[in-house]
C-alpha cells in the first residue's frame, strides 16, 4: 500500500464518519412523524413568504372601499378586510414579516446569549458574578409590559437606511432581542461550567490554546445540541410574542401587514365580519406548533438525554 492509497482511505473514512453523524441525527429525527410534518409546514411557509410578490393574487396594500369585509369570493379566496384589501395576499406578505422577525430575533438573541453565557461560565469569578447579576436583573424586569412601553416609546423613531414602513419592524427585532437572550445565556453558562472541568479542556490549556479559541472551538460546539433545540423552540415563541404585541398595536405598525396586526380590528368588526379572526390566527398557531414539534424532534434526535 502506498502513501497515496492510505491518504485516499483516510479521506474516505473521514467522509463516511462525518456523513454518518448527520445521518444518525436525521434517522432519529425522521422517526418523529410530527417533527417531520412540522418541518414540511415550515418549508412551505418559508417558500410562500419568499415567493409572496410572485404568487399573491392581489396587492396587499390596495384599498378598495367598495369591497370591504367580504366573505370568500372567486376573486378573494379568503375574503377582504375592513379596507377591502385581499386577506390571502396580506397573509402571504405578513408571513414575510412574521417569519423574518421570528428568525432574526432568535438568531440575534441566541448569539448574544451564547456569547454572554460562554464568557460568564468560562471565566468564572467576578466576570461571572457581574454577568449573572445582570442576568437576574433582566429577569426581574416585567417582560410583556416592558416590551409594550418600549414599543410605544420607540414607535416614531426613524432609523437610518430603513424605510419608514419597516422601522417598526427593526425596532421590534431589537427590543425582542435585548429582552430575550437570558434563557440561552443561562443554558450555555451551565453547559460551559460542566465542560470546562473536563479533561479535554485541561489538555487544551496544557497545549497552550488561547482562552478565546477554547471557547469558540471547544465550549460552544459542545454546547450546540441544546442551543439548536432552544433556538427552534424559540422561533415559534418569538412569532407568538411579536404577533401579540402587533395585535395590541404596540408592535409592527399598519399598513405593513403581520399576522398579529391583521387581527387588530377583528373585535371591532365581530358582528359584521367574524370570519376575519380565523386565518391570521391559524397561521400563527400552525407556525408555532410546527416549530414546537420540530424542536421536540430535534431534541430527541440530537441528544435523547436532554430535558428541556
Amino acid at each position: 500500500m502506498t502513501v497515496a492509497d492510505l491518504d485516499i482511505k483516510a479521506q474516505a473514512l473521514r467522509t463516511t464518519k462525518e456523513e454518518s453523524q448527520f445521518l444518525v441525527v436525521w434517522r432519529r429525527f425522521r422517526k418523529h412523524k410530527l417533527a417531520l410534518l412540522g418541518m414540511i409546514i415550515i418549508g412551505l411557509l418559508v417558500s410562500v413568504a419568499v415567493l409572496a410578490p410572485v404568487i399573491a393574487p392581489h396587492d396587499p396594500l390596495q384599498v378598495l372601499m367598495k369591497e370591504r369585509n367580504l366573505g370568500p369570493t372567486p376573486q378573494h379566496w379568503l375574503g377582504t378586510d375592513e379596507l377591502g384589501r385581499d386577506v390571502l395576499s396580506r397573509l402571504m406578505f405578513a408571513a414575510r414579516i412574521s417569519l423574518l422577525v421570528g428568525f432574526s430575533v432568535t438568531i440575534l438573541g441566541e448569539a448574544l446569549g451564547v456569547f454572554i453565557g460562554a464568557i460568564a461560565g468560562y471565566f468564572g469569578g467576578w466576570v461571572d458574578s457581574i454577568l449573572t447579576r445582570f442576568l437576574d436583573f433582566m429577569t426581574t424586569l416585567p417582560g410583556l409590559p416592558l416590551l409594550m412601553v418600549l414599543g410605544k416609546v420607540l414607535a416614531d423613531v426613524s432609523i437610518p437606511f430603513v424605510s419608514r414602513d419597516y422601522s417598526s419592524v427593526v425596532i421590534l427585532v431589537l427590543i425582542l432581542t435585548l429582552t430575550g437572550w437570558m434563557g440561552p445565556a443561562r443554558l450555555v453558562r451551565g453547559m460551559v461550567l460542566s465542560l470546562k472541568s473536563q479533561d479535554f479542556t485541561e489538555a487544551c490549556r496544557a497545549l497552550g490554546v488561547s482562552d478565546w479559541r477554547i471557547i469558540m472551538r471547544h465550549m460552544i460546539p459542545n454546547a450546540m445540541a441544546p442551543i439548536i433545540v432552544s433556538a427552534t423552540l424559540g422561533v415559534g415563541g418569538n412569532i407568538v410574542v411579536e404577533s401579540g404585541l402587533s395585535f395590541l398595536g404596540f408592535g409592527v405598525q399598519l399598513p405593513t401587514p403581520t399576522w398579529g396586526n391583521m387581527l387588530q380590528n377583528v373585535q371591532a368588526d365581530m358582528w359584521v365580519a367574524p370570519w376575519k379572526a380565523f386565518y391570521p390566527g391559524l397561521a400563527i398557531f400552525l407556525t408555532s406548533l410546527s416549530f414546537n414539534f420540530m424542536g421536540d424532534g430535534l431534541r430527541d434526535a440530537l441528544d435523547p438525554r436532554l430535558k428541556m
Partner: protein, 329 residues
C-alpha cells in the same frame, strides 16, 4: 438561613433602583409628550399648558425629576396621575380588587383542572386519557392566547344567542351588567359568574395546559424513584403510596412554579383584560402606557418588580423548607 434572607433582601434594593431608573429613562427619552392630549383642546390656553407643565415639573432636567420621584416614593408618595389628577396609588387600589378577583378565580380553576389531570396522566401513562391530555397540553403550548380569546368572544358572544332571550349567550365585556344592577330580581352572583365565564376560560385553559405538563413530568419522575418502590415493597396500599409518598414529593417543584406565578395576581392579564374590557390592572397599565401616565406607569412597574423579586425569594425558601436536601450557601 437568616443571613441568606438578609443578603438576598439587601441585593433587591439596587436591583429595584436600577429597574426604576431604566423605566424612568425609557419613558423620558421617548418621543411621547404627556401633555399632547391637551394641546389640541381649544379650552386649554397656552398659559394653562405652561401651568400644567410646571405642575408636572416637565421643564426640569431628568436627574432632578428622577431624584424628586425617588424622594417622594421614600416618603410613601407615588405621585399624581397626569390624566385623572388623582393620586397614582388610588388609581391602582381602584383596579386591584377586580384583577385579584379574576386572577384568583383563574388560579383556583387552573389548579383544580391541572393537578388531577397531571397525576392521572402520569399514573396511567400511554392511556387514552393521557394521550388526550398531552395533546391538549401540546396544542395550548402553541395557541396564541389572544387568538383563543378572540375565537371565544366571536363564537360565544357575537354568534351564539341565548334561545330564551335572544341576547348573546355570554357577555363579552365588563364585570357585571350596569343596566340590570339594582333592578328588581337582579342576582349579583349569577351576573358576575356569567361575565366571568369567557375571560376565565381564556386564562384557565392556557395556564392549565402548562401546569398539567409540569405536574405530569414531575409525577412521572417521582414514581420511578427508589423510595416509592420501597414504599410499595413494604406493603403499603397503592393509595397511600401515591398520595403520601409520591404526590408530596412531586408537588415540591409545582410549589415553586406557583410562587413564581403569584406576581401575576397583581399584574393582571394584559390580553384578557383588554379584550374583555375588564377594569383591572393589566388594562390600567395599557392605558397608562398609551396616555404616558408617568406616575401610574412607574408605580405599576415598581410594585410588579418588587413582587417578582419577593416571590423568587419566597420560592427558594419554600423549596428549601419542603426539600430538606437543599441547603443555602
Amino acid at each position: 438561613m437568616t443571613r441568606y434572607l438578609i443578603r438576598r433582601s439587601l441585593q433587591a434594593v439596587p436591583a429595584l433602583l436600577l429597574v426604576s431608573l431604566c423605566v424612568f429613562l425609557m419613558i423620558e427619552l421617548g418621543p411621547m409628550d404627556p401633555l399632547a392630549m391637551y394641546e389640541d383642546n381649544p379650552n386649554v390656553s397656552p398659559e394653562d399648558l405652561l401651568r400644567l407643565e410646571e405642575r408636572l415639573g416637565l421643564g426640569q432636567p431628568v436627574h432632578i425629576r428622577y431624584g424628586k420621584w425617588l424622594l417622594n416614593l421614600l416618603r410613601g408618595d407615588w405621585g399624581t396621575s397626569n390624566v385623572t389628577w388623582r393620586p397614582a396609588i388610588l388609581e391602582i387600589t381602584d383596579r386591584l380588587p377586580n384583577t385579584l378577583y379574576l386572577m384568583t378565580a383563574s388560579l383556583v380553576a387552573t389548579l383544580a383542572l391541572a393537578i388531577p389531570l397531571g397525576i392521572v396522566s402520569a399514573l396511567k401513562q400511554y392511556s387514552a386519557l393521557d394521550y388526550v391530555a398531552t395533546a391538549f397540553a401540546l396544542m395550548w403550548r402553541s395557541i396564541p392566547i389572544f387568538w383563543f380569546g378572540l375565537l371565544l368572544i366571536i363564537v360565544f358572544h357575537a354568534t351564539l344567542k341565548n334561545p330564551f332571550t335572544g341576547n348573546p349567550l355570554f357577555p363579552g365585556a365588563g364585570m357585571y351588567d350596569i343596566r340590570d344592577k339594582g333592578m328588581p330580581g337582579y342576582n349579583a352572583i349569577l351576573d358576575y359568574a356569567h361575565h366571568l365565564a369567557l375571560p376565565l376560560t381564556m386564562l384557565t385553559l392556557h395556564s392549565a395546559a402548562r401546569y398539567m405538563r409540569f405536574m405530569r413530568s414531575s409525577m412521572l419522575e417521582v414514581i420511578h424513584q427508589d423510595y416509592v418502590r420501597t414504599a410499595r415493597a413494604k406493603g403499603l396500599s397503592e393509595r397511600w403510596v401515591i398520595y403520601r409518598h409520591a404526590l408530596k414529593n412531586a408537588a415540591i417543584p409545582l410549589t415553586t412554579i406557583i410562587a413564581l406565578d403569584l406576581p401575576m395576581l397583581f399584574g393582571g392579564a394584559l390580553y384578557t383584560e383588554t379584550m374583555f374590557s375588564w377594569p383591572g390592572m393589566g388594562r390600567l397599565f395599557l392605558q397608562s402606557a398609551e396616555r404616558v401616565d408617568y406616575a401610574v406607569l412607574m408605580a405599576i412597574v415598581m410594585i410588579n418588580a418588587a413582587l417578582i423579586i419577593f416571590f423568587q425569594l419566597a420560592a427558594d425558601v419554600a423549596y428549601a423548607y419542603l426539600d430538606p436536601r437543599i441547603r443555602f450557601s
